[in-house]
């Protein structure tokens, strides 16, 4: 089955700075994928190229089977919601309102649902007759999210769309996204650095570090992959013996060791009886591990051994 989004050897340079470096990607149709990585990793540039708003320096991208740049057959079926979307924001009279933006979107997106748009505005407490120029950052984000979801585009790209939104509003976003996705499946690529909040949304995750893809896998495949074992030093050492270790910390008679590998129920029992605490590494911690470090060193394979 052809992927909804794919990139082959995608590279983007600005003068001598390489922002995306030989990116290969294949994202299946009707999935929610998380695009994760640090600030400046290249997530925004990648999304803009996928959305046809930027051009590759070399390599190729395909969305819904064709290159998106200047291709209306593709552009009509995709939506890119950017954190820094600029609107014709006149102030004073007449001003460019939320309703104007939504009306323009309504005749540009074939699947536009005005009822969903109204209900989302209500959820976020955003009034349609407010001038966009007068919106706070959070309200602008709410407008972007409303546009992105109500467009029901086959390919929906979100670039950290929650700037200025508090945790409650972000949860509204996640809930509405999941609900609408369940009723109207589509291909969603969501970039975020608030990984743990959104982790449950993702079927797959792609991690980008310094312009390169360092991880591209099912989210569930990562869960439980590494665990922090903490407690008395001797007990910890006994429990972790023979297992690959990522990190070791100690303070006095206490130790905390991160081991790789799934923990069986027998292991749990043993840990309990030894008085040890087992805490799985969260998706965010795993992603942090996959990024950072010297170039090329970011990975989830064994780096240090016991």
């Amino acid at each position: 089955m052809t992927p909804a989004i794919s990139a082959t050897g995608l590279t983007r340079k600005y003068y001598d700075q390489v922002v995306l470096d030989d990116v290969h990607l294949a994202i299946g149709a009707r999935t929610i994928t998380g695009l994760l990585g640090r600030n400046g990793a290249g997530k925004t540039t990648l999304l803009r190229i996928l959305g046809g708003q930027e051009f590759p320096s070399s390599g190729s991208v395909q969305v819904l089977g064709a290159a998106p740049a200047e291709n209306e057959d593709v552009l009509r079926r995709l939506v890119l919601i950017r954190e820094d979307q600029a609107y014709p924001d006149y102030q004073g009279y007449p001003n460019f309102k939320v309703s104007h933006a939504l009306r323009a979107a309504s005749f540009c997106y074939p699947n536009w649902d005005p009822d969903l748009a109204s209900s989302l505005l209500e959820d976020f407490g955003l009034r349609a007759n407010k001038a966009i120029k007068s919106l706070s950052r959070g309200q602008r984000s709410a407008l972007g999210i409303t546009t992105g979801l109500a467009a029901r585009a086959e390919v929906t790209l979100f670039d950290e769309p929650y700037a200025g939104l508090d945790a409650v509003a972000r949860q509204i976003f996640y809930d509405r996204l999941l609900a609408d996705y369940a009723d109207f499946p589509r291909t969603v690529l969501l970039s975020t650095h608030l990984i743990d909040e959104a982790a449950a949304l993702f079927e797959n995750v792609v991690v980008i570090d310094r312009g390169r893809v360092v991880l591209d896998t099912a989210a569930d495949g990562l869960r439980g992959m590494a665990t922090t074992v903490s407690g008395p030093v001797l007990a910890v050492n006994s429990f972790t013996e023979g297992r690959p270790v990522w990190e070791r910390r100690g303070l006095g008679s206490q130790a905390s060791v991160v081991i790789v590998g799934q923990i069986s129920p027998e292991d749990r029992e043993r840990a309990r009886s030894l008085g040890l605490d087992l805490t799985p590494l969260s998706l965010q911690q795993l992603v942090v591990r996959a990024s950072g470090g010297p170039p090329g060193a970011g990975s989830l394979t064994e780096r240090t051994s016991a």
Binding site: D175, A200, E203, R223, P265, L281
Partner: protein, 130 residues
């Protein structure tokens, strides 16, 4: 993660969803022939991706514990509860009884002593008579 209503990062979410459903069936919360929540309903409840929820349901369906009625949904198969309880017993034996016997042997106890110990401990706890 607070929003996952009890799921955690300790292992694949789909497996946790499957375990919880199996638990409900084994405990009798979901009777045989009862309709199982749809993947969308589970996804909304746990606030997870519907595909993940669907995968959890499919694990049980592949195991024959759920059966699909097309157009209506997934239902608990006949005999599912018995099978799950039998499975749990088998796991219990392997996980607890085997190590118990091994340790008892190491301590030089025979089976009768072990049974007596279990009875004493049980009545001390005022718990379920074995």
């Amino acid at each position: 993660m607070p929003q996952m209503a009890g799921l955690d990062e300790g292992g694949p979410l789909f497996a946790q969803v499957a375990d919880r459903l199996a638990g409900e069936i084994a405990d009798g919360g979901l009777a045989e022939g009862a309709r199982v929540p749809s993947s969308n309903e589970l996804a909304a409840f746990y606030r997870i991706n519907p595909a993940t929820a669907a995968k959890g349901i499919n694990v049980l369906a592949d195991d024959g514990l759920l059966e699909k009625q097309r157009g209506i949904g997934m239902f608990v198969a006949t005999g599912a509860r018995q099978r799950l309880l039998a499975r749990r017993r088998a796991e219990f034996t392997e996980r607890y009884v085997q190590p118990l016997l091994t340790e008892a042997t190491r301590l030089g106890m025979d089976t009768d002593e072990l049974i007596a110990m279990i009875k004493d401990t049980s009545s001390e706890r005022g718990g379920v008579p074995v």
